[in-house]
């Protein structure tokens, strides 16, 4: 019991902080630079990603375990089938948010359909089933609950990084900055400094 709890805890914090998906692994950077103009939209985006990522990872895990693997077609069908599952889920979420919260829907604008092509969602889904890929540096098959905890951890890491970045960016808007650095370049340099800080967590624990 204690052992299982420890595994889940390590998995969660490993995915959220030590191997932060945005700052350490560079996956899902488009929304990171695109919607991080204000704290509010970045929180909205994080919630959307958390929802899509968790549901998509469980759906893809089940699809892999129950359909693709038994039929022996996983090796060459996993890319198209996973991306279709994710696209369908995003479509569903878009309808749901539009119905429930029109202001949130308006705030997220173009980035909601773009979650489909947010590499983070596909990356986590692929990593939770495919052996041999980087899973916190160990080749390992996740069980379903482990895959879900991993997905939630990654999404929380995404939220932490993007909200912090949005807060810094709101301040940068007001700062005097050299002309050729204004806008995107200073954003990248800020992200680099944040990444430097997150690297400090690298020795926190070993899985």
């Amino acid at each position: 019991m204690m052992e299982a709890a420890r595994t889940y805890l390590l998995l969660f914090f490993g995915a959220a902080i030590v191997y932060n998906i945005l700052l350490i692994r560079f996956i899902g950077l488009c929304p990171f630079f695109g919607v991080s103009k204000s704290i509010e939209t970045s929180i909205g985006m994080s919630v959307a990603v958390l929802f899509v990522m968790t549901v998509a990872t469980s759906a893809c895990w089940l699809l892999w375990g129950l359909v693709l693997q038994p039929l022996g077609v996983g090796e060459f069908l996993y890319i198209p089938s996973f991306i279709l599952v994710i696209a369908a889920l995003v479509q569903f979420e878009e309808m749901f948010i539009r119905k429930v919260s029109p202001p949130l829907y308006k705030a997220m604008g173009i980035y909601l359909p773009l979650i489909t092509t947010n590499c983070a969602v596909l990356a986590v889904a692929v990593e939770s089933v495919k052996p041999g890929f980087l899973k916190l540096n160990i080749p390992y098959h996740y069980s379903l609950p482990e895959a879900v905890v991993y997905a939630i951890g990654v999404a929380c890491g995404f939220a932490v990084a993007i909200v912090m970045f949005a807060a810094i960016r709101e301040r940068i808007e007001l700062a005097p900055i050299a002309k050729s650095l204004r806008g995107a370049p200073i954003g990248f340099i800020t992200a680099g400094l944040m990444s430097l800080a997150f690297m400090g967590f690298a020795g926190l624990f070993k899985l």
Binding site: C30, I79, P80, I83, L114, S180, L181, F188
Partner: protein, 204 residues
């Protein structure tokens, strides 16, 4: 012919996917630690881009507008699967290093973006030219970043297990360049230098 050249050059420079449109950043930042990886990643992305542009441009009149995005994604995913299997079969060490980034070509915004913005509205030859230009622009930026980061960060450039360039043993490489923050710094400063040059040449 003139039009094709214009499309190609505009895709390569004015609309450079990484520097100007700022799409497809994730893979560029993540794999630019070694020249060898950038070369293979650039070739893989260009191959998928040209092939998907061709197919989508050929079938643009038969695809119903409402379902075009899923159709595009399936076309792209098929070509990515080809690359995935070929790389795994013939270049296992490079495949192992690129890892999850090969399946992630599917969700590289450059490819879907060009399918939607260019190939679905233009004829085949122009789409191929656009694919080559975009892929070339992506590869060039990757190569610049990869060369700088590998050379400065490790002190030498290694390709196919042979050292091509070495800065000598007295050079103490600042490892930070080849680590994660280095990617952001390199990209940010590359962009700033480009802005600076543009300001100087065109006085904007």
């Amino acid at each position: 012919m003139k039009r094709l050249r214009e499309v190609f050059l505009s895709a390569l420079m004015l609309e450079n996917p990484l520097m100007r449109l700022m799409i497809g950043l994730c893979s560029a930042l993540a794999i630019s630690t070694r020249v060898e990886s950038t070369l293979f990643m650039g070739m893989a992305a260009t191959f998928v881009l040209v092939c998907s542009n061709t197919i989508i441009s050929l079938s643009r009149k038969v695809i119903p507008d409402e379902v075009r995005i899923p159709v595009f994604i399936v076309v792209i995913a098929s070509f990515v699967t080809i690359v995935d299997l070929v790389m795994r079969a013939y270049f296992p060490p490079i495949y192992a290093r690129l890892g999850v980034w090969i399946p992630l070509i599917v969700v590289n915004c450059i490819i879907l973006g060009r399918a939607e913005a260019f190939a679905s509205k233009n004829d085949v030859l122009a789409s191929v030219a656009d694919g080559l230009g975009m892929g070339g622009g992506y590869t060039i930026v990757l190569l610049i970043m990869g060369t700088f980061r590998e050379l400065v960060g490790t002190g030498k450039i290694v390709m196919f297990e042979r050292t091509l360039v070495s800065l000598g043993s007295t050079f103490q490489p600042p490892t930070i360049v080849v680590l994660f923050p280095g990617a952001f710094f390199t990209f940010g400063f590359l962009m700033a230098i480009l802005n600076k040059l543009e300001n100087r040449w065109w006085g904007k």
